[in-house]
């Protein structure tokens, strides 16, 4: 058995799940607080964890001041939703009603499997450096015996159909809304389900179309390769990121992804002012919480996708790791190694810096999506459909054709 691979897979998995699930909770706080700061308000800050303070004259006074800027509100939400009565209305289709929330959560979590979040790394060299630094030589020898100088990818599944996998899994998210609305046996839910189905199917069409331009340029749908190709620079200063190749498609792709997430300004399926809560009107307790959790985790997943495809994934300009096979193959005059602007550094510096850079970009796009959510008003339903089919889809098609022609002319 390949123990080294298993250990790396478990490390990757725990990192991804830890980041995603925690972001799902933290983003609820970010959403509240950022909306407040944007509107000159303070935001939710009342949830507290009571701290007992012994009094001089005996007895205990419970302080209510440990609020950490309202960070406990997310925990309070979760605790509330878990402890509420999980009520199943008598008129619903029980089986589909119960299974629908999982169709919301699972695709969102699975999508992140193909997103490269840290690039190639050599755990043997990295960990033995670290252990050598703290003087644990036996641990250094042990990790070197386990990993050797093998290079692994910081990616859960290094699929050669990466981008197709994203679309395949992402489209199953439609089932959650459609099944939830249909099984709820409620007119509001049904209307929400119909809206969400049509909206998500429409926007999925040109979500694929929009990204095809980049695929034509890169010549692959392997997310890991796409990420590696963005590690170089043009003219010595401009990073080879997707945003500089197809800046216009970035906006269209992001609009499509946000429409997939069904958040403001594309919140037709929920439309609180019209349809109560849309397709999950009949849901309560943690089943409803699963829908909300999926929504907030999907913010992070969308941010990860945008980062990986358009903003150089984990790359920082000028930083190159020993495992960057693509970069060293493109520059045979250079000696492979770990460099930060030409200066040789330990491998661990490159790896930590890259994971940090990916997380920073990811958080920036989370911030950006929440900024959009608190800025733009909701579209009308016909506006969404017109924007999708009459403007964004033709634009994507024209872009695809033009990109293909240009790539043919200049020879890829």
């Amino acid at each position: 058995m390949d123990w080294a691979f298993l250990v790396v897979a478990i490390m990757n998995l725990s990192f991804v799940l830890g980041v995603l699930l925690n972001l799902g909770g933290v983003l609820t706080w970010v959403e509240r607080k950022q909306g407040a700061v944007m509107a000159n308000r303070i935001g939710a800050n009342r949830a507290y964890i009571p701290i007992p303070i012994p009094q001089k004259g005996g007895g205990v006074k419970w302080s209510k001041r440990f609020t950490v800027m309202g960070l406990w509100h997310g925990i309070a939400d979760g605790a509330k939703m878990i402890m509420k009565e999980d009520y199943t209305p008598p008129f619903v289709d029980k089986y589909i009603y119960n299974i629908a929330p999982w169709f919301a959560v699972v695709p969102v979590l699975v999508t992140f499997a193909v997103i490269p979040f840290g690039g190639p790394f050599q755990p043997g060299i990295m960990l033995s450096d670290v252990f050598g630094l703290v003087g644990a030589d036996f641990a250094s020898e042990w990790v070197m015996a386990l990993f050797g100088e093998r290079t692994f990818q910081m990616q859960l599944a290094d699929l050669n159909v990466g981008l197709l996998f994203v679309f395949a899994v992402g489209s199953t998210g439609i089932f959650s809304a459609a099944l939830a609305g249909w099984a709820s046996n409620n007119k509001y839910s049904l209307l929400g389900a119909l809206r969400s189905s049509s909206q998500m199917i429409s926007y999925e069409v040109f979500m694929g179309m929009a990204i095809l331009g980049l695929v034509v340029i890169y010549g692959t749908v392997d997310m890991n390769l796409i990420a590696q190709m963005q590690g170089d620079v043009w003219f010595g200063f401009l990073p080879k990121w997707g945003i500089f190749l197809q800046p216009h498609m970035f906006f269209i792709f992001m609009a499509a992804l946000m429409a997939e997430n069904k958040r403001v300004p594309f919140d037709m399926p929920e439309a609180e002012s019209e349809l109560v809560a849309g397709y999950f009107t009949e849901y309560s307790a943690m089943k409803m919480g699963l829908f909300m959790m999926a929504e907030f985790i999907e913010i992070a997943v969308i941010a990860g996708l945008l980062t990986a495809l358009f903003f150089g994934a984990y790359h920082v300009p000028g930083v190159h790791g020993a495992g960057d096979a693509f970069y060293w193959a493109a520059h045979p005059e250079l000696t492979p190694g770990n460099y930060v602007f030409g200066m040789e550094v330990p491998h661990v510096v490159v790896v930590v810096g890259r994971v940090g850079s990916f997380l920073a970009k990811l958080l920036f796009f989370c911030w950006f999506q929440i900024l959009i959510r608190w800025t733009l008003p909701k579209f009308r339903y016909d506006q969404i459909m017109r924007l999708g089919w009459k403007i964004l889809l033709p634009l994507s098609l024209v872009n695809l054709v033009l990109t293909a022609v240009v790539v043919l002319l200049i020879g890829g």
Partner: protein, 225 residues
């Protein structure tokens, strides 16, 4: 034709493009003018593809966000030195009732109190001057005979319907013995209308309606009605 928005009210039934036989209103149409019953397309191309204006709006909100965050971080550098009150905060929110607005008047007229003699009896001599002066008729006094003949009368009951009070301060001015005063206490809220009648004992306690240390919110205060 459908339901086009009529530019001119009262002419919705006319057919688009119809030539009016005579001027409808003075100055509205001239004879022979072709009437348009819909607004002309007023959105420009840039407005119809949303994106430039979406970006402009995002820029505006992002600017406000960044400005407020910078203000908060500057405030934080003051706050860690214990001087948080001096710096500007990134929000216009005021933590009522923990803090009052800086322009809250120090001579604001609020909840009434009854002053006391040395033996904690009310200063009031039940002369009904305040009840007579009250334009809202919210003071109700029941007088009793005081054992001390020098004082003559005292209030057996002294009720102020605080929800009727208009805080004009006439009672304070009318009082000959300085027995009733208006404080600056404005947290006059409650969940029950019956408890908005402040009785003699409550007015004599001088207890503020909101006490920061007890962390009691207005309306939650324990009080026998």
């Amino acid at each position: 034709m459908g339901t086009q928005r009529g530019k001119n009210k009262g002419f919705e039934n006319l057919v688009d493009g119809q030539v009016l036989p005579q001027p409808a209103y003075q100055g509205e149409f001239t004879e022979g003018e072709i009437v348009q019953y819909y607004n002309p397309e007023s959105m420009t191309w840039a407005e119809r593809i949303y994106l430039p204006y979406v970006l402009a709006g995002l820029g505006l909100t992002a600017k406000v966000f960044l400005r407020n965050m910078v203000t908060w971080f500057v405030w934080l550098t003051y706050w860690v030195r214990g001087k948080g009150a001096e710096a500007k905060r990134g929000a216009t929110t005021i933590y009522y009732p923990h803090e009052m607005r800086p322009d809250f008047s120090p001579v604001n007229r609020g909840k009434h109190i009854l002053t006391m003699r040395d033996n904690d009896d009310p200063q009031c001599v039940a002369c009904y001057m305040c009840a007579t002066a009250c334009p809202a008729f919210c003071i109700h006094i029941v007088a009793g005979e005081h054992p001390d003949p020098a004082i003559e009368k005292y209030p057996v009951r002294f009720d102020i319907e605080i929800d009727k009070c208009i805080f004009c301060g006439y009672c304070e001015e009318a009082c000959p013995v300085d027995a009733i005063r208006l404080t600056t206490d404005v947290h006059l809220v409650d969940y029950k209308r019956e408890r908005m009648v402040y009785d003699r004992e409550y007015l004599l306690t001088w207890k503020p309606t909101y006490v920061e240390e007890e962390h009691v919110y207005p309306g939650d205060r324990p009080r026998k009605s």
